[in-house]
Symmetry: C2
Subunit: 236 residues, 2 copies
DNA sequence: CAGTGGTCTAGACCACGCT
DNA sequence: GCGTGGTCTAGACCACTGA
């Protein structure tokens, strides 16, 4: 791991533990330079990560102020797998694989994804349960030309950990959309819906080398859906 | 404007104009160093902005690849005012101010916002129309201890341009949530809703000095709501 | 191997806040 | 005036790609 990332993790940990509290000023960049025995630009790269994640706010002439980190923890936004969310948020959930099979290229990918047409895709349908309730239905489509076969045991655990850890795929970025759509019969059956709508989060997920390897359709019970984002203003 | 921002804007413009096309490699960092007559770190800051905005993908040993920039243009995510969205997306919309008045501190702020209790707030209710249809209802609450009075003419145009340009407030970051909620009578009347639900985007908006100055509740017709995000994977 | 991006350094000058 | 963060530089070494 590089230095600025280590410093970021260290400061993040100290903020989470309350060693630096809301409203406190972090040590100045010059002090951090000495503490970690690195150059100032390296300290600043670490502080920029804290800034982007909403941990601090910087003010010229004053210092870096620690922001409140509400009860919810990020990132509901971003590109994070469900298993990782569970871990970082302390949710205890269950995942049940309903389908794990190969399909000939389905229409939904033609319409909702940029994935180039291939003969067949690996299709995984999963239920996400929290406290015995099915809150999310996840439909994943993988391009088998890029992604090795994903066994059901892996799909019950973490697919991303498997692809990154075991097969060394470099998952890099995603294009996501969120819409609200009428619930299908499948939605109603599997999620025991009260409401006629579901929230649909669709993602095209890309590797480091810009290859599109996965499309995901994540269907949420709307009464339990909540998306949280920390956003910074940019020069428009 | 600083150098890396100027370089970013220049390269962004060239990508938008198709001077650099999807799949092309940008000139190498060394070449850009010469082109703009700056140091390499400065070039890299500009490229990082392109990276975060989803314009390029970098690969060690190869270069910076230009990504496709779909028809939709960001940022629907982030902290951008409706007027700015209109401009960057080429939407022609209308804004109609329904209410512009002072209220004693309303319950909704106690429940949905971190705004500290003050005697009264400025309340602005606006309709956003596109092609004659009301798509969004915006409810803004401003802390008058921080924000000068906002006249109705300004609310019909751009409040952020007014606060930043005229009063030099430094708008910095926001905490946002997206949920789906039952439509109120007001929603149904003003938006002529077919559906019993609306998408609600709530934001607490902060200044540079971490003061919370605004809460916004943006109520969307769910059949016309679409949220688009570009997300990068981070080390978890 | 040459060329690319990734990281890091030591130092400089500036703009801002506070006292 | 002093300490803070914001910007920029010139140079170094490393890891990776592709011929």
């Amino acid at each position: 791991m590089n230095k600025f990332n280590l410093i970021f993790k260290d400061l993040e940990e100290k903020i989470r533990q309350g060693i630096y509290q809301e409203g406190d000023l972090l040590p100045s960049e010059n002090e951090l330079t000495k503490t970690y025995d690195v150059s100032r630009e390296t300290v600043r790269k670490a502080l920029n990560l804290l800034l982007e994640h909403g941990y601090i706010q910087k003010q010229q002439g004053k210092g870096s102020i620690v922001l409140p980190t509400g009860q919810y923890q990020f990132p509901v936004s971003g590109l994070t797998s469900y298993k990782e969310l569970e871990r970082s948020q302390g949710i205890k959930g269950n995942t049940k694989v309903i389908v794990n099979d190969y399909l000939s290229f389905p229409d939904v990918l033609r319409e909702e994804s940029d994935m180039p047409e291939v003969a067949e895709v690996q299709y995984i349908l999963r239920e996400r349960l929290v406290n015995g309730e099915v809150l999310i239905l996840d439909k994943d489509y993988f391009d088998p030309a890029i992604v090795p076969h994903i066994p059901t045991e892996v799909a019950e655990d973490s697919i991303y950990a498997y692809l990154e850890g075991v097969h060394h795929l470099d998952i890099s970025y995603a294009k996501k959309t969120i819409t609200v759509e009428p619930a299908t019969t499948e939605d109603k059956e599997l999620m025991q819906l009260q409401e006629p709508f579901v929230v649909v989060v669709r993602s095209d997920v890309y590797l480091d080398d810009t290859r599109l390897f996965q499309h995901t359709e994540s269907r949420h019970r709307l009464d339990r859906f909540k998306f949280v984002e920390f956003a910074r203003r940019r020069n428009v």
